[in-house]
């Protein structure tokens, strides 16, 4: 009897400890973000820091959070050399506005460019807990549409270069922007 009871207990303990795979592990590669690196237009091999860049998705009121530890509007600003932004998984294009020197008191220093990325999507099974992820492939003929706001102004992004046409993970740079 004791042996059987201990086996029954073992069954209960081991089965309850297996509930872990109900939670999607944060390290599991799921829907990748678009990774953009910024480069210096005069010396194209050198990365260049943006200054107070704010990226807002079309139709959204708030920008993409780059600095979650900051408070207020500062959390939407970045002054790094690389950003990762989420593409829409329910449409074949996503439009962003990129605002350089955002929040600067001198309005002449603020530059706004709008870029629409065009792509196709594929939904790929990940696991029970994570469900599916979306992988993207840039439209081969027309991967992006780039305009300045207002359109009469010169674009602050001088060159946009698609480095990887398949967006399958976040470990590589998909787009290089020279300014």
């Amino acid at each position: 009897m004791k042996k059987i009871l201990s086996i029954l207990l073992l069954v209960i303990v081991t089965s309850s400890s297996c509930e872990k795979d109900d939670i999607c592990d944060a390290n599991t590669p799921t829907t990748p973000r678009l990774v953009i690196d910024f480069y210096n237009i005069t010396t194209p091999s050198v990365k260049k820091n943006v200054t107070n860049l704010k990226v807002v998705g079309d139709g959204m009121k708030e920008g993409i959070v780059f600095n979650s530890s900051a408070t207020g509007d500062d959390q939407y600003l970045t002054s790094g050399t690389s950003i990762s932004i989420p593409l829409k998984t329910d449409a074949n294009s996503t439009k962003f506005s990129f605002t350089l020197n955002s929040g600067n008191p001198n309005p002449t220093l603020i530059d706004i460019d709008e870029v629409t990325f065009n792509y196709t999507r594929e939904n790929v099974f990940v696991s029970r807990a994570c469900g599916f992820k979306t992988l993207f492939t840039f439209d081969p003929t027309n991967p992006y549409i780039h305009t300045a706001v207002p359109s009469t102004k010169t674009k602050w992004m001088r060159v946009i270069s698609i480095e990887k046409s398949n967006i399958a993970n976040e470990n590589e740079t998909h787009v290089k922007i020279f300014f």
Partner: protein, 264 residues
Amino acid sequence: MTVFCIQAQETTPTTKSLDKTKTEGVIPASPKQAKAKPSSATKTDTIVPIKKDRYGVRVGLDLYKLTRGLYDSNYKGIELVGDYRFTKNYYLAAEIGSEDKTTEDDRLNTTTKGTYIKFGFDYNAYENWLNMENIISIGLRGGFSTFNQELNSYKIYNTQHYWNEMPWIESGKSFNGLTAGWIEVVAGVKVKVYNNIFVGFSLRMNTLLFEKKPDENFENLYIPGFNRTYAGNFGAGFNYTVTYFIPLYKKTVKPKEVVKKEIK
């Protein structure tokens, strides 16, 4: 072995001779009677408890699967169970079943339909008194299932929640011709409640041996008979059975311990 036998043979006469010498000193006539009495007593002892084990087939069904369909609209299932006693403690055992289960995970909604068969044995570790026929058993089964899965709807996982949370995406894609095989370790109890009617339950730990997965973009999330799959190849299950015992023949129980003593 032979050495032990010789020793055993040698020791018994010496003790007998010792007894003789002792008893002869007091009463000379009595030892013959005393010798005769215990031998006859042992013979009658072996005959007195006429214990007969009943051998036969037990058939029934899993009440858990049957009743679950009443309160769980996502589940329909039936399992027939049976066993055959082929030695005193060993039973051939089998389960045959069919399941139709819709699983609602956080990001997946799938329906699995299929049938399964499990075959193996149970070992009854319970020593019954007189004509009791209860069973506390440990057993093994080999299980095999053929089934199909349908992905009803799913959600896209996104670590970023910048864009609005995506709604469920309808799919309706089905994956047919799937198979799986596994081994179960079964711990069970069966109690005779009335005449030939038994109720019982069993807990099962399953190890998946092989599976035919969907060709692309999916995996087996539920296997009929095996139940839910986990990371790795582990599974678990249980059943709650009512069975009817059909007796076929009887065998008298040999009093093993007495026989051993007589040989020595």
